[in-house]
Structures are given as structure tokens and as C-alpha cells.
């Protein structure tokens, strides 16, 4: 069996809002093996980005365990947390907001090195910064440039270089390409692929774009309203989706081909509010297969064999709702 780098157990993150308790992440379980990419997909507001931030302790979890290399990082003290930060990094969605506009590119890339006092020698540090810029494909002459002088693609490369600076083992990729144009997006995806091979990185890849997630992931978890509804390797996810939400989601993707016409499942209505969600299956209101039990009991993520997990009462036995 492969070695697990990260395991998340019953992770919860609730926010207090004026309107009530927002269940952003509500009992999420998954693991990531060393060197693989786990794709986390879902629509806006499903809690995927919050999950990414809680895993890195950028937000404090409400409940649960996050086991990284055998230790629960939620129990870490300040010192241990600092050490952990060197192992786990993040690349953000917005290449404009994630770089401090008042810092030059080299300052941005060097920040992790400065903060963690990696080098005592300034020249050594500059050498490392150059090396990182080279790794992500940024020309050396841009060392003293400022973020506002760069396009989105180059900024995202800087964000990646910053994440790589401390030689982490694990990187959360939070929608790293969704703000970029297609041609640039492909460049960045290839770069991340190369980096993974070269440095043996493990990724948690968060995205709303199923095509991209399928391309980069070994396994995929689908989130809906704070819960994972289906988790399996990418092949079986796309060939044989079991959860009604996954089925609808996959069928909704517009495919850039004219030779393939796909059956489309149109969902009714919008995603309900994550504030004070009722008991029962979160997908209940929009599911065409719903039964009485779905309203009363929250389905657990069940092991269906072959490392496929589904949270549905009627997995494999879906019948249209009789109302």
C-alpha cells in the first residue's frame, strides 16, 4: 500500500455569521498519498477553499483531525507550527491579490527564506531566489520588478516560486489557474506537473473546473455544501459516477467536441444556504432520486470497494423519486 502523507478526519469549520452558524466544512474525510494529486472539486460556496485553508491551519478548524506525516497538526504548538509551515505550502487563486504590491519579486520569493532564517548569508539567499525564478521560468532580469508590471501568468509563477522556496512536501493549489486565459492556464498546469515530478510533491488541487481537475488528479473528491459526496480515482469517477450530484455535475460540463453528444442531467434550483443546514442529505432538495430517508438521515461516506467512497443512501440503486 502507498504511504499516506496527509489524512483528514471528520474535519469541521463553522463560521459565526449574523444569520446563523455557517457550516462551511462539515465533517470531511480524505487522505492523500505521497506524490499524488488529490483533486477537490465543487461549485462556489461548497467549502473547498475553506478546506484547503483549514488543512494548512490558515483558518483554525472547529473540529476534527489533520494527520500530516503521522502527527495531528491541530495539536501543534507555535514552534511546531512554524516547522510545519516549511512542509506545507499554498498557491492562491488570484495572482493579483496574492502578491504584495509594495514588494519586489525577489522580496516576495525571498520572504519564506527570510521569515524562517534559512540563510545567514545574503548572497546565498539571492542565489536561491535566482534558482527558484529559473525553476518557474521567470527571467532573471525581472528580479527587481514589481507585481503590477507582470501579467497574470507570470504572477502565478511567482506565487509558485514562493511556495517552493522552503522545499515543501505538500502544496495546496487553490484554484491556481482559474483566473488565467486558456493558453496561459495550459502553461501553468504543465509547469506544476513538471515540478511535481522533479521535487516529488504532493498536491491538494482545488478547482471548480472538472476538466482541469481530471487532467491533473490521481484521485478526485467531489464536495457539495460542506461535505464530500464522492471520492474515487479519476477514471472511475468519470466512467462510473455513483452519486446523483456527481452525475449531474459531470453531465453539465460543456465538451469541446462535436462528435460526442452527452446526456445532460439538469438540476433544479440553486445550491441551498450553508447556514444552519437541515438534517438529512444536503443534496435532498435538488436530487431526482430523493426518498423519505434522504430527508431524515444524513448519508455517511461509504466504502464501495476499490477505494471508491460515496455518500448516498441508494448508491447503485437509484430510482426516480415517486412524489
Amino acid at each position: 500500500m502507498q504511504e499516506r502523507l496527509l489524512e483528514v478526519r471528520n474535519l469541521k469549520k463553522h463560521f459565526n455569521t449574523k444569520k446563523g452558524l455557517l457550516h462551511a466544512v462539515d465533517g470531511v474525510n480524505f487522505f492523500i498519498n505521497k506524490g499524488e494529486t488529490l483533486g477537490l472539486v465543487g461549485e462556489s460556496g461548497c467549502g473547498k477553499s475553506t478546506t484547503g485553508r483549514v488543512v494548512l491551519r490558515l483558518l483554525e478548524a472547529t473540529d476534527g483531525e489533520i494527520i500530516f506525516e503521522g502527527k495531528d497538526i491541530l495539536q501543534f504548538n507555535k514552534q511546531q507550527l512554524r516547522e510545519m509551515r516549511k512542509e506545507m505550502q499554498i498557491v492562491f487563486q488570484d495572482p493579483f491579490a496574492s502578491l504584495n504590491p509594495r514588494m519586489s519579486l525577489s522580496e516576495i520569493i525571498a520572504e519564506p527564506l527570510v521569515v524562517n532564517k534559512v540563510f545567514s548569508d545574503k548572497l546565498e539567499m539571492q542565489k536561491r531566489v535566482k534558482e527558484l525564478m529559473d525553476t518557474v521560468g521567470i527571467a532573471e532580469r525581472l528580479t527587481n520588478a514589481y507585481p503590477h508590471e507582470l501579467d497574470g501568468g507570470r504572477r502565478q509563477r511567482i506565487g509558485i516560486a514562493r511556495a517552493l522556496a522552503l522545499n515543501p512536501k505538500f502544496i495546496v493549489q487553490d484554484e491556481p489557474v482559474s483566473a488565467l486565459d486558456v493558453s496561459i492556464q495550459a502553461q501553468i498546469l504543465n509547469l506544476m506537473d513538471d515540478l511535481q515530478d522533479e521535487f516529488g510533491l504532493t498536491y491538494l488541487f482545488i478547482s471548480h473546473d472538472l476538466s482541469v481537475v481530471k487532467h491533473v488528479s490521481d484521485r478526485i473528491a467531489v464536495m457539495y455544501l460542506g461535505k464530500i459526496v464522492e471520492l474515487s480515482d479519476y477514471n472511475s469517477m468519470f466512467k462510473n459516477p455513483l452519486h446523483p450530484y456527481t452525475q449531474a455535475l459531470l453531465s453539465a460540463i460543456p465538451v469541446p467536441r462535436i462528435d460526442i453528444k452527452r446526456e445532460r442531467i439538469l438540476l433544479e434550483g440553486d445550491v441551498p444556504s450553508p447556514i444552519n443546514p437541515p438534517e438529512g442529505c444536503r443534496f435532498y432538495g435538488r436530487c431526482q432520486y430523493r426518498q423519505e430517508i434522504c430527508r431524515q438521515k444524513t448519508p455517511e461516506l461509504r466504502d464501495m470497494g476499490n477505494e471508491k467512497y460515496v455518500a448516498c443512501h441508494f448508491t447503485g440503486d437509484l430510482r426516480p423519486a415517486s412524489e
Binding site: 461549485e43 462556489s44 453539465a252
Partner: protein, 326 residues
């Protein structure tokens, strides 16, 4: 191509933005046509000139700094470029209407959605207030929103629902041409599917022609009959959907297809286009794509490619194909 009578013909249209930093050639010598009931996809990345084209047709390009430099926009036999603002106002929202990208910002936050639909009805149809409201409720029902919600304000709707309201405004006067500027880009996949489905049905029902502006080749495959691919202000390839997806010709089009992950097959690596979009105030000489083109020749940096018909109804602006014509 279909031998329908053309509803809209764009001939040699050029639109420039004249700014302090230089002139942006947002649209350069564009030639397009749309038949009755047809859907044209306008595809390109940020800054390709898609939205400017749309605003140009409506004659809503912000001026200054934007200006229609030359060309004709012939709509139902009449050139829109030559029309006065008051003549244009009778066409806008009536015969040609538009759906914008961001449903969160394209509705007036302090007006009820019913009033916003009724406004366009009152402007173009000879109806009183009660009839206009009636029509607004009818339109809401058409786009899948209970008519009783016409007194609600935009903030009481989700993004997908707001886009439905925008569609209701656009279709309220039975336009003959609908311009949709990235209508689903801001929406989630499942909501996008709902909205696209709705648009397809309504387009059918009203027999409206449509220009669908998008960067998503998947959306194009789904709803369009014809496609124009834009790069740096130029339509570099223009043909029907079938030809474009089975035998794309322009290196940029091929590059675009190579950049998107294909959900139906397993590719281990993407084949992206190298380099970056050019600076809009400083477009490369010759073919604007030549610095990024894998098949660039010496001449590409020197001469602008002409629009070449490589096979009937398949136009490409690329020097690779200019000789094959002769």
C-alpha cells in the same frame, strides 16, 4: 454555409481605443455574417476584442476613448454605423439586445426586477404601465422565475437567477438579434447548464439569431452554428462549427485546442501556446500571432496575412494558407 438571408453583415469593421499610452486596435477589419436564426460563436482570450465587437454592433463603445474607425455594420439591410443615436435607441433593446457577463452587476440594485423588464417593454412597445408589468411577469415565467417575484430586488436572487432576469430583459421585445457576452462565465457548471439550456430553448421559440461571445470552446460546440476565432483584434479563423472542430487550420486555433484538457480522453500533457498575449498598444508587426506561432516563417513578421478562403466557407488569416488559394 446556409443560404439564409443574412440578418447581420459586418464588413471591414475597425474599432480603436485612442488612449494616452497609444492606440489600441481592438477590432481590425472584421468581416462576419449571421443568418436568420443562426448562432455565431465569437471566441478568444482576454483582450482579443470580443466585447468591443459586441458593443460596436450596439454602437455603445465608450467614446472617448473608443471609436469606430471604419467599416459597415449592416443590420436588416441598413448600416448601423451611419445611424443617429435616436435611431439607434429604437433598435437597442428592441431588435438587438444584449446579455452581459456579470449578472451580479448588470442589474440596477435599487429597481425591482419587474420594473427593469417593464422598462424595456414600455420603451419599445405601445403599452401602458399595467400591460408592461403583465409582460414582465410573463417574461419572468418564461425564464423559469415565478411571475409573483416581479416586485423583488436583484439582491434577493442568486447569480443564476439574476442571469435569467437579464435574459428576460433581453428577450422581452422579441429581438431578432441577441448578443450574449460570456453569459455563463460567472456561473457554476450546473447553473451554466441550466442557463444555456434556457437560452437554447428561448432562441428556438423566438427564432432569434445570436452572437455568443465566449472563451469556452465547450460552450461553442454546444450552442453555435458558426465560429469566429479572434486574436489581438483579428478574426483569424471563421467557419462552421463542424469544420472548426474537425479540421482547424490556424496555428492559434490548433494551439487553443491543445491548451484545454479534454475530459473525454487521457492526455498526459497539454500542448500550450508559448508566450503571452501581446500588449494591446504594441501589437507585433505582420501577423500578430507570429511571435508565439510554432509554424512562423520569416515573412510572418513582415506582412499582414489576408483573409483567405481555404475551402468554401472556411476563412483563415494566415500566411501558410495564402498560397494554396492561388
Amino acid at each position: 454555409m446556409k443560404d439564409n438571408k443574412n440578418l447581420l453583415e459586418i464588413k471591414d469593421l475597425s474599432i480603436h481605443y485612442i488612449t494616452d499610452d497609444g492606440t489600441v486596435r481592438a477590432v481590425e477589419e472584421m468581416n462576419l455574417e449571421i443568418g436568420v436564426g443562426e448562432t455565431l460563436g465569437l471566441v478568444g482570450e482576454t483582450g482579443a476584442g470580443k466585447t468591443t465587437t459586441a458593443l460596436g454592433i450596439m454602437n455603445l463603445v465608450p467614446n472617448p476613448p473608443g471609436k469606430i474607425i471604419g467599416g459597415e455594420i449592416v443590420f436588416e439591410g441598413e448600416d448601423l454605423v451611419k445611424k443617429s443615436q435616436s435611431e439607434l435607441r429604437k433598435i437597442r433593446g428592441n431588435k438587438i439586445s444584449m446579455i452581459f457577463q456579470d449578472p451580479m452587476t448588470s442589474l440596477n440594485p435599487v429597481m425591482t426586477v419587474g420594473d427593469q423588464i417593464a422598462e424595456v417593454v414600455k420603451l419599445h412597445q405601445n403599452v401602458n404601465a399595467a400591460e408592461a408589468t403583465e409582460r414582465a411577469m410573463e417574461m419572468l415565467e418564461k425564464v423559469g422565475i415565478p411571475g409573483t417575484r416581479h416586485k423583488d430586488f436583484p439582491h434577493q436572487f442568486s447569480g443564476g437567477m439574476r442571469q435569467r432576469v437579464v435574459i428576460a430583459i433581453a428577450l422581452a421585445c422579441n429581438p431578432t438579434l441577441l448578443i450574449a457576452d460570456e453569459p455563463t462565465t460567472a456561473l457554476d457548471v450546473t447553473i451554466q447548464a441550466q442557463v444555456l439550456d434556457l437560452m437554447r430553448n428561448l432562441k428556438h421559440e423566438f427564432n432569434t439569431s445570436m452572437i455568443m461571445i465566449t472563451h469556452d470552446l465547450g460552450v461553442v460546440a454546444e450552442v453555435c452554428d458558426k465560429v469566429a476565432i479572434m486574436y489581438a483584434g483579428n478574426v483569424i479563423e471563421y467557419t462552421d462549427v463542424k469544420r472548426l472542430y474537425t479540421s482547424p487550420k490556424h496555428p492559434y486555433t490548433i494551439g487553443l485546442f491543445g491548451s484545454i484538457p479534454d475530459i473525454e480522453s487521457d492526455e498526459s500533457r497539454l500542448k500550450p501556446i508559448k508566450g503571452l498575449m501581446p500588449d494591446p498598444t504594441n501589437i507585433p508587426s505582420g501577423c500578430p500571432f507570429h511571435p508565439r506561432c510554432p509554424k512562423a516563417m520569416d515573412i510572418c513578421s513582415q506582412r499582414k496575412p489576408k483573409n483567405t478562403e481555404v475551402e468554401p466557407g472556411h476563412f483563415v488569416k494566415c500566411l501558410l494558407f495564402e498560397n494554396t488559394e492561388k
